[in-house]
């Protein structure tokens, strides 16, 4: 998001930034998403100074309390403040989502750049591996590895980062193939630039739009996996709240407090919607041609 914001204005008078704003205003879902993410990010960052009860303070005399001034969204099955837990859970869920998405894009960029640039055997091996990984249901392995290494944010970020990079790799490879025979690449090569210099200085910048769009959509994708793993009791482990593990067993409290099953799910839904629609807008802003390919 901010990377676009800082892009230098182009002399044509239609800077990327302005195109982005125009696209954003047209797409109500993305506009809502940006507002939602801004509010959530503010809450999540300001959490330490907000006048909220501790998210882990148990009060067994005050379980399933309805909303009140003390507990704006009521309390859960252990009498913990739901709003405080939602915000603390947001810290974890968003941090894991963002970091893992960045990691997937990093892996994808390395594989895609190498495959597209070197071509030949390197390309064949890397792409066969990428396609092979796409055809294996790695979710079970993810379950096992995360379960055994004890969950937690770091394990989740690594596990998701290592298993969800394939789509990005293919996109980046496509971009590299589009550009690698163009004059500016040939020029750099004939001036004696090394392979790594051509890849990083000349080809990678061409793929930046794809990288940014992939990251935005990747955050949503990874957040869904984090939520599912945490829901199963394998990702972020209690008492640390995450939006996924707040829903574990929530269907059992339906009679006492149906809202416990609603709020965390809505937070996941809105966040993923926001990142996905933001990705769509960014894609349209960067390159109208990319619209038809998706």
């Amino acid at each position: 998001m901010s990377a676009v914001a800082q892009a230098p204005a182009q002399p044509t008078g239609r800077s990327l930034w302005r195109i982005f704003w125009r696209m954003l205003r047209r797409n109500r879902m993305a506009l809502f998403g940006v507002v939602f993410l801004t509010v959530v990010a503010a809450l999540v960052i300001l959490e330490p100074v907000l006048p909220l009860p501790s998210p882990n303070r148990i009060d067994l005399l005050n379980t399933y309390a309805p909303p009140s001034f003390q507990h704006l969204l009521g309390t859960d099955e252990n009498g913990r403040d739901v709003l405080a837990r939602l915000i603390a859970g947001g810290q974890v869920s968003l941090a894991v989502g963002l970091s893992a998405a960045v990691l997937t894009v990093l892996f994808g960029a390395v594989v895609g750049l190498a495959a597209g640039y070197f071509g030949g055997l390197v390309d064949r091996v890397l792409m066969r591996f990428t396609d092979g990984l796409l055809s294996i249901p790695v979710f079970f392995l993810l379950l096992a590895v995360v379960a055994i290494w004890g969950g937690g944010p770091l394990v989740l970020i690594l596990a998701l980062g290592l298993t969800r990079w394939m789509g990005t790799a293919r996109l980046i490879r496509g971009e590299v193939l589009r550009f690698k025979n163009m004059e500016f690449v040939t020029a750099a090569q004939s001036l004696g630039a090394s392979d790594s210099r051509v890849m990083l200085k000349h080809l990678l910048p061409q793929a930046v739009p794809v990288l940014i769009v992939s990251t935005s959509i990747g955050v949503g994708n990874v957040m869904l996996y984090e939520a599912a793993l945490s829901f199963l009791g394998l990702g972020i482990l209690p008492p640390t709240p995450s939006w996924g593990n707040m829903l574990t067993a929530s269907q059992n409290y339906v009679f006492n407090a149906p809202h416990l099953a609603i709020y965390p799910g809505l937070m996941i839904l809105f966040s993923v919607l926001a990142f996905n629609s933001l990705g769509d807008v960014l894609r349209d802003a960067f390159d109208p041609r990319m619209r038809s390919s998706q």
Binding site: R128, D131, S135, I136, A144, V146, A228, I268
Partner: protein
Amino acid sequence: MFSYLLKQAAASILVLLVVVTITFFLIGLAPGGLGLLADPNMDPEVRANILRNLGLDQPLHVQYFNWMGNILQGDLGRSFTFNRPVMEMILERLPATLLLGAAALVITIGVGFSAGVIAARLPNSLLDQVLSFVSFVLLATPGFWLGILLIIVFAVSLGWLPAAGMQTVGQPFSVADRLSYLVMPAIVLAAGTTAELMRYTRSSWLEIMNLDYIRTARSKGLSERAVHGKHVLRNALIPILTIFGLFLPRLVGGAAVTETLFAWPGMGSMAVAAAVARDTPLVLGVTIFISSAVILSNLLIDVLYAVIDPRIRY
């Protein structure tokens, strides 16, 4: 053609072996041991016995070669927690998962494809906008949360459908009974892929409508029905087959969560339980079994390509 297909399948199998090997060592090197051995008061002799029986007293690489040797001979080993052959346990759970997966596929194709065609036939209409909004939201909805909401509404509040299991206890099997248990998990499992297939169908349908041979078909006086039913449909099936291959692993992964949520006695819920119990042979066995099935069906899809599209030659 076959040599190309075989190469593709061989690559997938190779990747599977690599991934499974990495996972084996990731699990083996993890701190802590089997859940089975968690009891701190266990007699050391009993403990040693259990370890020896499971082959866990040997160095990790020996365990690996023993295990891999058996796999290559088609033996998936024995479950640590149940001390039963993994293959036997998988085959026991397979029918339930197949039923759920088939139901989800039927929903995906039936609803997703038709909704996509409807949206493409009426582009930018209100219906198109509603459908695309719904599919966008569905793609961002965590499946298990959709399941929880369905349970709250249809099982708890309305009491129309059972929330968990596959059959009413003590009742003889009946189709109506089975369907009442099947309907919610199948919808939950199919939600994401249905939404995606709809979007994909819509865009590929619209893209094909703009191609020259469709204009030719129209200008030679074919009815709209013939144009869409014959020319567009057949060509729209090709890209749709492609994402089908990508759906299979996703459906299977989704089955892990869905089956657990609805206590559906399939392979997915078994794998989740096995992962929690650190039952390495069972988790890896399920993965290998399912992956082989997916790789096989991808082969089948590649063959179907050539059947549907005479331009494709391998």
